[in-house]
Every structure is written in structure tokens, then in C-alpha cells.
């Protein structure tokens, strides 16, 4: 009997001592979430506070949800900090040119297509132009936030001076009253360069976050105090501290890490990507300027975007726009993390601004306008070369 007891205890101690009985941590390169390296202890604490607010806080009627909304939490649109799903796709409406949104009185710019019981959600007014926006991945946004205006302008070519058919331009936007321009921000006739959002309609992560709380969840803050249902300024439903914690969280999420970078297919695919001219807009390497967060200060990173607007042709022209962008112009989306998108989109790709493309190839083939030349070059590749190019994109 004593022997049985000893055996049981020995087995038990052995088993519980073995961490292999618990699921292992996926490789860093397989996950989009996690902080940038080099945060201080206090920054790490703020990151965790923002993480909890972003991923765990679900709003209810009692805590301010709605009454009109799109989603009840940040995390439900950005699972694992990755790209979103058509289930939480946003619809923006009401603006077709740089003169502004003419449907503000009808609830524009964002459609709140869901409502608490007893309330009626919004509908797109007759005749209003609209576009659907799939939620983007959140990763690496602090790096993008810290790129200097000079660097963005240096990549632009509004008059296509080099004659390559590509003429990226910044979206010069009017700042919200609460937005504080970055040190060194360039002011052009009272406008600043937007860099977040499908049309670069948001200046920084404070604006992006405050607007998302307000427009996506119906949560007011001191930054965005107007209830989207009544139009009245009401008490803040989220504290400044929480909102700024979320901003910090978004700012310090790590950049996606490339996988299999040295495999032959990835190396060849990258060469084909550059030969096809894709890299003229999807610029591989950018660098940050000065940042109060040391981990983001003067860093080189690889987002595959130039943060500029490009005419993508009639096929992707929804007739809706923001700021000074034309309706056919879209900000070059960063390609980093593309290969992990399926892990946040329910196992399926939903690519391009509204998720209309279900494969990377489909997304490439829907490129037009300034990207037509690159699309044609892609079409001219052999099947093996196309696969290599896609393998490269999936490694990002």
C-alpha cells in the first residue's frame, strides 16, 4: 500500500513539474500581438493596461455601448490584433469629393448598423456614396506613427516626375481640435498629413482611437464627446487614461516578423515583387524619427507601404472618400503580417479595403490605376513565379 502511495505521489510530482503538459507558446513570428522590444517597466504596465482595455473590455448598455454601434469591443473587430472579418466591416458614407461630407446630418461619416434593443440602427441615405472598410491589423502602428512628414513627402511624386505612372500623394487633412501635431509636423495651408485609415483620413492614433470608440461602439470621451445617436455632447463614457492606455498599446504593438525569409521561394518571390514594380508603392523599408518611446526612436522597419494615396482605378473606386483623397485613391496598405491574416479572419482571406478578395492573387488582379503596370507584369509571370511571389507575400 505504501508503495502504491509513493508511486502515485512520484507520478504526480513528475507530471505537474513538467510544463510540457501545457500548450506551448507559439513562435513570436506566428503572432501579431505582443509589445515591441525595449519597453521600460512602466511602459510595459501601460501596455498591459491598454491590452486589457482593447481586448477584454466589452461594452454594455450600462457602460455606454451605443445605442447605435458597430461592435461592442475593440477586440471583436481586431482578433489577435490582426485584420478583421466582414462581420465587423465598417461602412462609411456621404463624401464624394474634397468639399466635405454632405450627409453629416444623416449620421455620416460612419454607419452604425447595429442598435441596442428598442433603437433603430442607421441606414445609408438614398443617394449617399459609401464604401466598406474591413478592420485593419493593429500591429506596428507606432512605427508608422513615428515616420517623419519629410520622409512621407520624399516618397510622394504628385506629378509623376519620374514617369513611372505612379504618383503617390499624401492626404492633407484638417486636424480635429484635440489632435496635437507632432513635433516637426508639416502644415500645408492649415492641413496636415493623415496616415491612418484606408484613405489616410486620421492623423494619429489618438484620433484613430477616439473616433473608433465613438463611431464603432458609441462610446464618448472628452476627445469625441458627441453621442452618435442623439448628436448631443454627453458625459465621457471612457476615461482619458483608458483611452490613452489603448493608444499606447496600439503604438507599442510589435511589428510583424517575417517568416522563412531565407527560403529560396521567398527570396525569389521578393525579387519578382520588386521587378514587377510592386515595391514602388509597397515600400519595404521605412524609418522612424524621434519618438518619446525609446523602442520606437529612430528605428528601421519593414512595413511595405509608402503611406501615400494612389489611384487604384475604376474597379476599386466606390465613389466615397475622406479628406482630400479622390474616390479612386487609397492609401497603400502595409503588407506586413499579410500571411497571418487568415488567423484573424476565420481561416479565410478578406483582402483589399472591403475584403472583396479571398486570395492574394485575387487582390493583385483587382489592382488598377497606378498599379496596372505591376498587375500586368504579375500576369506575365509563369505559374511558378506567381507562386513564389505569393509565397513571399505570405512570409510577411
Amino acid at each position: 500500500m505504501n508503495r502504491l502511495f509513493i508511486i502515485v505521489i512520484t507520478v504526480f510530482i513528475t507530471v505537474i513539474s513538467c510544463r510540457k503538459t501545457e500548450p506551448s507558446l507559439p513562435a513570436d513570428s506566428q503572432m501579431l500581438d505582443g509589445p515591441v522590444e525595449g519597453l521600460t517597466a512602466s511602459q510595459a504596465q501601460q501596455f498591459l493596461r491598454g491590452d486589457a482595455a482593447f481586448n477584454d473590455q466589452v461594452f454594455t448598455k450600462e457602460t455606454g455601448l451605443g445605442p447605435l454601434f458597430v461592435s461592442a469591443s475593440c477586440g471583436s473587430c481586431h482578433a489577435g490584433d490582426g485584420k478583421g472579418h466582414p462581420f465587423t466591416t465598417l461602412t462609411r458614407f456621404g463624401q464624394s469629393d474634397s468639399l466635405g461630407n454632405t450627409f453629416l446630418a444623416s449620421g455620416a461619416p460612419q454607419l452604425q448598423n447595429r442598435a441596442l434593443p428598442g433603437f433603430d440602427p442607421e441606414h445609408i441615405p438614398a443617394g449617399a456614396p459609401f464604401s466598406k472598410f474591413t478592420p485593419p491589423a493593429n500591429t506596428g502602428m507606432g512605427f508608422i506613427d513615428a515616420v517623419t512628414d519629410e520622409d512621407i513627402i520624399a516618397m510622394s511624386d504628385p506629378d509623376d516626375a519620374d514617369g513611372d505612372g505612379i504618383s503617390g500623394v499624401p492626404n492633407w487633412i484638417t486636424l480635429k481640435s484635440y489632435v496635437v501635431p507632432r513635433v516637426g509636423s508639416i502644415n500645408k495651408n492649415g492641413h496636415h498629413i493623415g496616415r491612418f485609415g484606408k484613405k489616410s483620413g486620421a492623423y494619429d492614433l489618438v484620433q484613430q482611437t477616439a473616433a473608433a470608440y465613438n463611431q464603432d461602439m458609441g462610446i464618448t470621451s472628452t476627445y469625441e464627446p458627441f453621442d452618435t445617436y442623439s448628436g448631443q455632447a454627453i458625459d465621457p463614457e471612457i476615461s482619458n487614461q483608458t483611452l490613452l492606455d489603448v493608444v499606447f498599446y496600439l503604438k507599442t504593438l510589435k511589428a510583424p516578423i517575417q517568416r522563412n525569409a531565407n527560403s529560396a521561394d521567398v527570396v525569389n518571390g521578393k525579387a519578382l515583387f520588386l521587378q514587377a514594380g510592386c515595391g514602388k508603392c509597397h515600400v519595404s523599408e521605412l524609418k522612424t524619427g524621434a519618438s518619446p518611446v525609446a523602442a520606437l526612436n529612430y528605428k528601421t522597419f519593414y512595413p511595405y507601404t509608402d503611406l501615400l494615396l494612389h489611384d487604384m482605378g475604376a474597379g476599386l473606386d466606390d465613389g466615397y472618400t475622406e479628406g482630400n483623397a479622390k474616390t479612386s485613391e487609397w492609401r497603400t496598405p502595409a503588407l506586413w503580417g499579410l500571411g497571418l491574416s487568415k488567423n484573424s479572419q476565420g481561416g479565410v482571406y478578406y483582402l483589399l479595403h472591403d475584403g472583396r478578395a479571398n486570395t492574394i492573387e485575387e487582390a493583385i488582379l483587382l489592382h488598377g490605376g497606378e498599379a496596372l503596370g505591376s498587375r500586368n507584369k504579375y500576369n506575365a509571370l509563369t505559374a511558378k513565379e506567381k507562386q513564389q511571389l505569393i509565397t513571399f507575400l505570405e512570409s510577411l
Binding site: R19, P117, N343
Partner: protein
């Protein structure tokens, strides 16, 4: 203050009953071990301690555990948890009138609740009246949930995260039993206060019936004035099995207030099927429960909140050693396994036609040692796969749990 009012009478009662008592006067009233005891008997089928000829019997159970779980490589380390302690007080008021109450302290004293406090009056074996705070008889676990009866540290996910066990409400009802040879037929039916709109407006971000437990006012007023109806029929053959079929349903939302119509009447309906049996010769105990939930969620709300849910569990418990162990003559060592599954959102996305996921599967192999039938020491290894609403790769959680639960 409210907690104080709950705790104080129990403390005083216990103190009065126990103070200065000659221990030889204490009598342990064992639980009914009859083979045809039903789940509906569980509330009284507990070991009570009575004092001499006092008409009051006391009892309770406690459960505590250690666990070390990891989720996708991240662990919170060693956790020691005092899950709950329950105190029962039962009394025979008169020949066929009895009263039972149960107060439960969960997670230390983080949550204190009067879980049960009902008076029973037997008019006829087929017609008993019960009133007070009652356990709604939906499924079997809600009525038969005492920790020492189970070989697993965690309660079934389907019982706590799908059904709102332990789910009790103020109300009245009737029940009865009919014994015939090896058979027992039983029924229960209650009208009680019920759910509220938290079930589709909660911090879980999903249709979540247990959220209604957060409404402390449900013991003093109905959220919408419409009774929740709960009914169950069960049949048992002592050589075969017990099978129960239960239903619970009512209006969950506040459709009017002060005479002003606010919304349509929205229903929540739950069906549950439960069974338990012991295989002859092998003595393998099998216990299972499956529930279907239907909720009228407004079409203009988000599909994150489901209008259909389902889930359940099945436990296998195999005695593997029955003799003296470490001086406990009637020790039983069991090998057990629980398989549980919950789908919090049954349906398809309107926008893509794709399946809505939001489900969990868990497998829990276990070893338990019962030095007496009233005490269980249990070692569980839990592995679960939780998939979010979009169907992304599941979050895996696994680890060991070691704990005990005992009546006292």
C-alpha cells in the same frame, strides 16, 4: 450590509446549535443511498448533522484546490483557490412540512449568496408544494451540484457558462414522485422570477444566460413581471438509468415600463436532457447533460449575441480500487474522464454565410480518491480548445488541478 444580514443568522444559528455540545449527541444523518434517488432529491439528499432531538439539521460542503494552467504558453503560475463553502440548515417544521436553506460563499467571500431557502409542504406524494428561493430544475447539474459528488475540480462549462448554474430564483411550484416496482416517475414545475436583458448585454460579449445572476434584485422583484416557467419530468429504473427532460422559458427583456411599451416581448427558452446510469458489472458511472437554448435577439442587434446555443457534458467514472488505503477502510479510487462541449453561437454569419464559431471543447481525464463517500480528493488534467466567434485557431488551455471537496 446585505451580506451581513445573510451571514449573521446562519452564524448565530450554527453557534447556538454547536456551542457546548457533547459530541456524543451529534448524529450524522447519512444521505439517502437508495438506488432510486433522483436528481430532484439531491437538495435533501445530503449528509446532515443533527443534535440530539433538535429539529434542526446542519450540513455543508467545502471545496478548495491548487491549479497550474497555461494558455498558449502563458501561465498565471500556481493558483490556490477556495472555490466555495456552503452551509445547509434543514428543519422539519411539522410532520410533512420541512424547510431547507443553503448559503454559499464563493471564491473566499467574494460572492455570498442565499442559494436556496424553501419550504416544502407535502399534500400527497404526488403533490408537494415548494416555495421560497428554489433551484430551477433545468438539467440535472443545477439541482445536483455539490462538489463532493463530482470527480472534477471545475464544474461543467456547459453548466456554468451556458446554463447559469447554480441558478435559483424566488418562486413557487409543485413536485411529486410515484414509485412503482423498479421505476420512479417524477415531475416538478415552478414559476419564479427570471432572466433580464443582461443575457444579451454583458461583458462576455455573447449571449450568456449566467449574466442574469449579476442582477441581485431578482430575489425581490421580477425584471419584467412575467414569470419564468421551469418544468421537468424524470424517470428512473434502478437497474437501467435515470433520464430527465426539462424546460425553462420566459420573457427576458423589459418590454414595458410604467405602462410605456419599450420593445417587443423577447423570449428565452431552454431545453435540457440529462441522464445518469451505472453500467452493470463494470460499475462505470455515466452522467451526462445536454442543453439547447433559444433566445429572441433583435435582428438589429449584433450577431455576436447568438439566438441559438447548445452544449453539454458527459462524465465517465470507473472505480479501479476499492479497499483500505492509508487507513481509510472504505477507500475508492476512481479513474474518470469528462468530455464537454459548448457552442455559444449556433448559426451562420449573415454577411458571409460562414459558420459562426464561438465554441469550446474540453477533455478532462481525472483520478479521484474517496476515503469516504463524503470526501473526494481529485487530480484533474484539463485540456480545452476555445475558438472565437470568427473561427480563428483555437486558444489552448491545459494544466493540472488538484483539490478536495467534502461534506462536513
Amino acid at each position: 450590509m446585505k451580506k451581513l444580514f445573510l451571514v449573521l443568522p446562519f452564524t448565530l444559528l450554527a453557534a447556538a446549535a454547536m456551542a457546548q455540545i457533547d459530541s456524543t449527541l451529534l448524529r450524522r444523518k447519512p444521505k439517502d443511498a437508495a438506488a432510486n434517488a433522483l436528481n430532484m432529491n439531491a437538495v435533501y439528499n445530503r449528509p446532515f448533522l443533527s443534535v440530539a432531538k433538535l429539529p434542526v439539521a446542519l450540513g455543508g460542503y467545502v471545496e478548495a484546490n491548487w491549479q497550474h494552467l497555461g494558455t498558449n504558453g502563458v501561465t498565471e503560475g500556481h493558483q490556490f483557490q477556495m472555490r466555495r463553502m456552503s452551509l445547509f440548515v434543514a428543519s422539519t417544521v411539522y410532520k410533512r412540512i420541512k424547510f431547507l436553506s443553503e448559503i454559499e460563499f464563493e471564491d473566499g467571500a467574494k460572492e455570498i449568496s442565499l442559494e436556496y431557502a424553501a419550504l416544502d409542504m407535502e399534500v400527497h406524494p404526488l403533490f408537494n408544494i415548494r416555495g421560497g428561493i428554489v433551484l430551477n430544475p433545468i438539467g440535472a447539474f443545477n439541482q445536483n451540484h455539490d462538489g463532493p459528488k463530482w470527480e472534477f475540480v471545475d464544474r461543467p462549462i456547459s453548466a456554468t457558462q451556458l446554463l447559469p448554474d447554480t441558478w435559483s430564483n424566488v418562486g413557487f411550484g409543485v413536485y411529486g414522485k410515484k414509485y412503482q416496482d423498479s421505476w420512479v416517475f417524477a415531475y416538478e414545475a415552478y414559476v419564479t422570477n427570471g432572466f433580464d436583458d443582461r443575457i444579451i448585454d454583458n461583458r462576455e460579449g455573447k449571449t450568456f444566460l449566467p449574466a442574469a445572476k449579476q442582477n441581485p434584485a431578482r430575489f425581490e422583484e421580477s425584471f419584467n413581471g412575467v414569470p419564468l416557467i421551469t418544468a421537468k419530468a424524470a424517470i428512473r429504473n434502478k437497474r437501467i438509468a435515470e433520464v430527465g427532460l426539462s424546460y425553462m422559458g420566459g420573457i427576458y427583456n423589459k418590454f414595458q415600463d410604467e405602462g410605456v411599451v419599450l420593445d417587443a416581448r423577447r423570449r428565452v427558452d431552454v431545453m435540457a436532457l440529462d441522464m445518469n446510469t451505472t453500467l452493470p458489472k463494470l460499475n462505470t458511472a455515466i452522467t451526462g447533460e445536454w442543453a439547447w437554448i433559444s433566445v429572441d435577439v433583435p435582428a438589429t442587434y449584433t450577431q455576436q449575441y447568438a439566438n441559438k446555443q447548445r452544449g453539454g457534458f458527459i462524465d465517465f467514472v470507473q472505480p479501479v480500487y476499492k479497499r483500505s488505503l492509508m487507513g481509510f477502510e472504505k477507500s475508492v479510487v476512481n479513474a474518470a474522464c469528462r468530455v464537454e462541449y459548448v457552442d455559444w453561437n449556433v448559426g451562420k454569419f449573415e454577411v458571409t454565410g460562414g459558420n459562426i464559431a464561438d465554441h469550446l471543447l474540453a477533455v478532462v481525464p481525472a483520478l479521484s480518491w474517496r476515503p469516504t463517500s463524503q470526501t473526494v480528493v481529485r487530480l484533474n488534467y484539463r485540456y480545452s480548445w476555445k475558438t472565437d466567434v470568427l473561427g480563428n485557431p483555437p486558444i489552448k488551455t491545459a494544466g493540472f488541478q488538484l483539490g478536495f471537496s467534502s461534506y462536513f
